[in-house]
Amino acid sequence: MPVSRRGATAVRALALAAMAVELVLAVGAWIYYGRLGAVGAPGAWLVELNWPWIAPLGIRLHLAMDGLSLLMVLLTAFLGLSSVVVSWREITQRVGHFHLHLMLVLAGVVGVFLAVDLFAFYFFWELMLIPMYFLIDLWGHEDRHRAAVKFFLFTQFGGLAMLLGILALYFAHASQTGQYSFDLADLARTNLAPAAAMLMMLGFFLGFAVKLPAFGLHPWLPAAHTQAPTAGSVILAGLLLKTGAYGLLRFAVPLFPEAARQFAPVAMALGVAGILYGAVLAFAQSDLKRLVAYTSISHLGFVLLGVYSFNVLALQGAVMQMLCHGLSTGALFIIAGLLQDRLGTREMGRMGGLWAVAPKMGAAAMVFAMASLGLPGLGNFIGEFLVLLGAFKVNVALTAVATAGLVAATIYSLWLIQRVFFGPSAEPPAMEDLRPHESLVLLAMVAVLLWLGLFPQAVLETSRAAMEYVAGTQVTATAEIPQLSTPGARIKGATPKFMEWTPTLSESTGEILQLRMLGVRIEGATPKFMESIPTKSESTGEILQLGVPRARIEGATPKFMESTPTKSESTEEIPQLSALKAGIEGAPRESRELTPRSEEGSRFRLQLTSGTRLMSFDGCLPVPLSAPWRGRFDHVSRPEFPDVPVARTAGVRPVCGLARPEFPDVPVVCELARPEFPDVMALAVPKGGRR
């Protein structure tokens, strides 16, 4: 439908306004939460939204933001705004339609960065594809159809592989707990056999590595980036590639920590291969956009290397690299687009000597080329430096090879500037320099890159907690998970003291309570705390797991804990347990008689799947367990005690509340049991108290 000139301007203005609002909101959120001192990590989100969506399948529209998501949304808003501006003059055909797709793809990207329900994530992930396909296919350059289809087929295949991983995890979790949930926090607690975890991890990795793209899965990228219109290239390079890296950080690594660690050498090698391959091929290109496309493969190789180095330094570097690559490469694509618009070619052989006619553009290109080669003072340097620093601790050889990529980057970047802006001109260049709006966009990008290069602390601070979380899942379970064996220990006072009351080994022959802690927060006390872990042979008694986040320990918990019965009493009267009116099918008779003295008339049904580790619950008090699972536990098995499920919590929410009559404000969560002791449930005290 032909759109009038005025209509086209209105459409552009609307898109511009939308992205401006988005940027203001994102910056506002950053400043607001920064001022509050909130860090934002999985389990302690800055802000979240959790609505039911497709209840029969346990799907929720669960969006949440931590430091990482916040930074990515900021990048999205900034690049989105930039791409609307640079399309202002370039897109003249079907303007409304173009902006529809542009906004749709940005919506998909923001959704990807915020979704923590895996169905919702997959939904947004696929949602990005269609508009991107149209952007390339309808507004791209000469070979656009082939490039668009290639892009679509590759990413769709990767997406489906990831979906299989998601579904396998979903069913593994469901068969263990009887809870059908796609929530990241729930799925992260699934106990998986190493082989199964590895296969699922590979499914996720495939999906993300295609997008990233990792070496070997990249063939779609040069074609798509080269053929897309400028805004399309900016979004592809600046945002879509980042969704792959983000997916690794948010899902592939935290969901399968052991498998990811095992896989790390391969992933790091792929990263290094990408760094070198991209750099070498970039050098061989004569097409300006194609050159920049190959540099993307090289730069994203650093991200892959950083993610799989598993230390905060490298992870922080990866985040920095994601942001800076988005800006610098986006800017180089903008410049390439402007040149093509003015000269009608992307062939560097037909350029040359352009500095004379377009010094502003040349200067801008120079800055971004310097950023790309990793000049100190610009953000990319920080990112690559941190990645290399972190990776060095893990794998010296690979890091050394990766460093060669920096040298290659210097060569291709300088070569690019030399060929395009200096050097002999093949034809007498006659073209317009930057127009005001173009200068504005590029200037803003320069400013941000400089700021990131000189004062990276603000960004690093924002992402730190989230990256510590990612790295933390890699720490061996023993070091991080406090276990406390308390046969009737009387616990008085707050956390440190709590630790001291840990009984010695000899005492812990009876019933053992495992306490779940917010692992990170009690680091100081942990070593001592750990000493008291019983050896396997001794832990023959009934094992109860008790999740106690820190908040409760300081508040109501001491009192709560004091009343823990002594050993002799506890066979029958573990108070938490006795609050259950249990009708346990198939369990030994004793367990069926765990009927509380109070709370008559309340009902609780427990379904046992014998032979399996976990059980499913049909109902609980006072909130029925069929109510959506809202917990946020992370389960990790400890290697020495494969039969003792252990948990690491990152902020706990009630799963199903069960108040003890004496302490009505302390709900208890029944959760886990060991197959040998089917009548014993694990208990957790949620942070929020009464539900």
């Binding site: 169905f119 979906l163 579904l167």
Partner: protein
Amino acid sequence: MTLEQIRALLPLIILVGAAVAIMLGLAVRRNHAFTVAVAVGSLAAAILSLALGPTVATPITPLLRLDGFSVFFSGLILAASLFVAVLSHGYWNRRRTVISEEFYILLLLAAAGSVTLTMAVHFASFFLGLEILSGSLYAMIAYERDRQAAVEAGIKYLVLAGGSSAVLLFGMALVYARTGTLDMAAAAAKLAGALDVLTLAGVAMILVGIGFKLALAPFHLWAADVYEGAPAPTAAYAATVSKGAIFALLVRLAAAMDIQSNPPFQATLAAAAVITMFAGNLLALRQSNLKRLLAYSSIAHMGYLLVAFLAAGTLGRTAVGFYLAAYIITTLGVFAVMIVLSGTERDADRLEDYIGLSRAHPLLAAVFAGMLLSLAGLPLTAGFVGKFYLLAAGVGAHLWVLVAALVISSTISLFYYLRFIAAAYAQPAAPPALPAAVAMPRLARLAIAVLVILLLWLGVYPAAVIRAIQEAVAIGR
């Protein structure tokens, strides 16, 4: 027969009554619009009678049974028939060369046959329903009897469907010989335990007969030619109603006889599913005729459905129900676009007809693209949730080979769907092959709008539909 049973039978009574009424009416005076109104009205009344019918499972003679399962699938089939009837109105109006009114009699009878299939719990009613459906379809396919392609397609379908019916009947006879009963549940009870060669052959032949009707590979060869030759509304009908009804029957039969847990059948059906998915998608790759493409893509979709079918259990059956609903909505949508674009001479089934569609009919192009994207299984559309459900069922039952085949073959399918979408949005040098200014009948517009709403509803917020299907297939046991 009790009053309850008559209430349960009302949908069939209404359909058959309306068919007779139209036939008698035509003897007096021909009026296309009036005939359509009667057909649509009776289909709507039949749907209403289903909704208001008995809420508990009601056996109607030993032959039929109205329960949640048959209510859901009958409703789906009747609604699809209603859409085809509405779309046929404009289509036949443009083809003045053909007398159009009898088409609706056939359509109503085919719908009655399909509804019978969804209610059938007895081999006799199964065969009866199938033959009523097929008999009407022969005539609907060859309805434009002046067109050679249509007649050829009709004869092709007649011969092949006749042959497959014979195989099916022979299979039933073998099962009967072994068990002495034609009641599905009773026969299944007698067959419980080891199957001997005779019954194995019998059940296998029944499955072959069903496979023919569903165009599962290797019995898929007829589909493309028949779709291409048939008028667009008939092709739409054959792709949606006929397949839906037979699949519903297959699910019920399998639930009664527990086919999925029988290793030889499981292996054979799994192999058939893999071959069907790949055959359908690979053969569709090079088609530039939309009807042939849809024929092959519908073969592939039946293959996808087999994955969920083999997963069995409530999850598998719910997935089948949901996917069939999504598939029917989507396929009807594509055919609806084709039908409104079809001119007086021929159907708009060539790739050229769609080049530049977005110029001439931007909204229609968007609908067309949306429907194809749904067939490809992309988000915001019913097909996305449907494919997700199929994969979930497959993964839940650990059918890894089938799931892998589904993933790979559906990635292949993107290629040909994208080709038509790209064509619709291409900017042609030459004007489109069909006249741009096709006047769209208001009714067809409404039908398309409803289909789009359904497509988005199932794609974005399907919770209520899923819950309804879960209940329906749970009662189906």
